[in-house]
Symmetry: C2
Subunit: 242 residues, 2 copies
């Protein structure tokens, strides 16, 4: 199995994705939040790029059946129900509801992946289940990190490395250079991810905004059995692999 | 000092470079070869992107005063005097001559860097001297890796990490996420660079073509006291810092 890792969505050719499973990662915090929402029973997540698009889609839903969620500049969007904190997406808040969701980097990466044969959402929360899904599909892989403002973001690379590390222990995997780097860095830092991330851009920005508890949630390994799968270019629904 | 690391030249804004020192790295093999040529007394290196441009510039020189060097698909270009192997750029071959030089990834990266305030060429061969030059200039840094065919190339990131590692031991340095990753990977692998590079794309491609000895030369730390400096958007000349 070939595994190629991209630090940001830019520059990936759509033709490259056609026969691949795409795995989209935005550890802090979009893909951690999506996974949490689906684990807690929301009916689906609709990832959208623009706030306007989110508001427009919301008009198709009866009040009480949907929630608007996401962030700009790491903060809740005016008029939205929920921010981009996984801790807000409790069962009480989301069960049975449709989440219309937009974030700065993560939802763009999901849209970019939409040409792939299969598209799943990963974070530290569901590494093992994502690997199970990838093995079941048996396709070559494109792991697409959201990055931060178009730049390499280390927390995403470490989560990609966690997936690559687990796959190479079980399969004959051919990693590209960035995949090898991510795998090495994850394996050397798995016992203290916060240590290596302490000086990184997005992590320290979130700490500065007081989001320490979100970070702690987002760096927890395998706390969710759900694999969010993107279907029909519109919806994310959760596949539970138990 | 801010140090930002780019895995490839694409996507770097020219305005970002204006007040920075740019350090261009293509370990296998362009920047190792340029450093070697200047160490061995060539009068200058003219990096060009196209073969046609190289041939056109050569017309301005008398026979015997210049050499055409470089590669396409890692092999010598038809009609050129030298390939992209540092081992060909001996004092006997290059002393006093102008080298007109074109490679697949490296010379493009040099051109991309041309908007920076100062531009130097680095490889493992001159890490310490490049750091001396950077400290003397005192500007923020953009380390621009050539990459391989537009993708992240681990050998370049390790050399960038060697520079970042040395700078942070001596200065108050703020590394971006990729800089932190490069630094970590260099420090953990400095005693066996070939070990971590064995499965990487460009390294294994060169091994497959029989270039093992070139690789050995290119992974040697601090064998050259020369810092190639790009001047006037045209020429690379060597600054010897002893």
């Amino acid at each position: 199995m070939k595994v190629d890792l991209f630090a940001t969505p830019s520059g990936i050719q759509e033709a490259f994705l056609k026969e691949r499973t795409a795995v989209v990662i935005d550890v802090l915090r979009a893909t951690s939040t999506i996974t949490t929402a689906l684990y807690n029973g929301c009916s689906k997540v609709i990832p959208v790029v623009d706030i306007e698009e989110a508001l427009s889609i919301a008009k198709n839903y009866d009040p009480g059946t949907f929630l608007l969620g996401g962030e700009r500049f790491a903060q809740k969007i005016e008029g939205f129900h929920l921010s981009n904190s996984p801790r807000e997406y409790t069962r009480d808040a989301v069960e049975g509801k449709t989440i219309i969701f937009t974030t700065t980097n993560g939802t763009k990466a999901i849209r970019k992946a939409s040409e792939a044969r299969d598209i799943v959402i990963a974070s530290f929360l569901n590494v093992t289940r994502v690997c199970d899904y990838i093995k079941e599909k048996g396709q070559d892989l494109a792991i697409i990190c959201a990055g931060t403002d178009g730049r390499f973001s280390l927390e995403d690379i470490l989560a990609a490395g966690a997936i690559a590390s687990q796959l190479k222990n079980e399969l004959d995997v051919k990693l590209d250079d960035l995949g090898l780097a991510g795998c090495f860095m994850y394996e050397k830092n798995r016992d203290n991810l916060a240590g290596i991330l302490r000086n990184t851009l997005h992590y320290s920005r979130l700490v500065g905004l007081g989001f320490d508890k979100d970070i702690e949630v987002c760096l927890s390994l395998d706390t969710s059995p759900v694999v969010p799968v993107y279907r029909d270019g519109v919806n994310l629904t959760g596949v539970h692999l138990l």
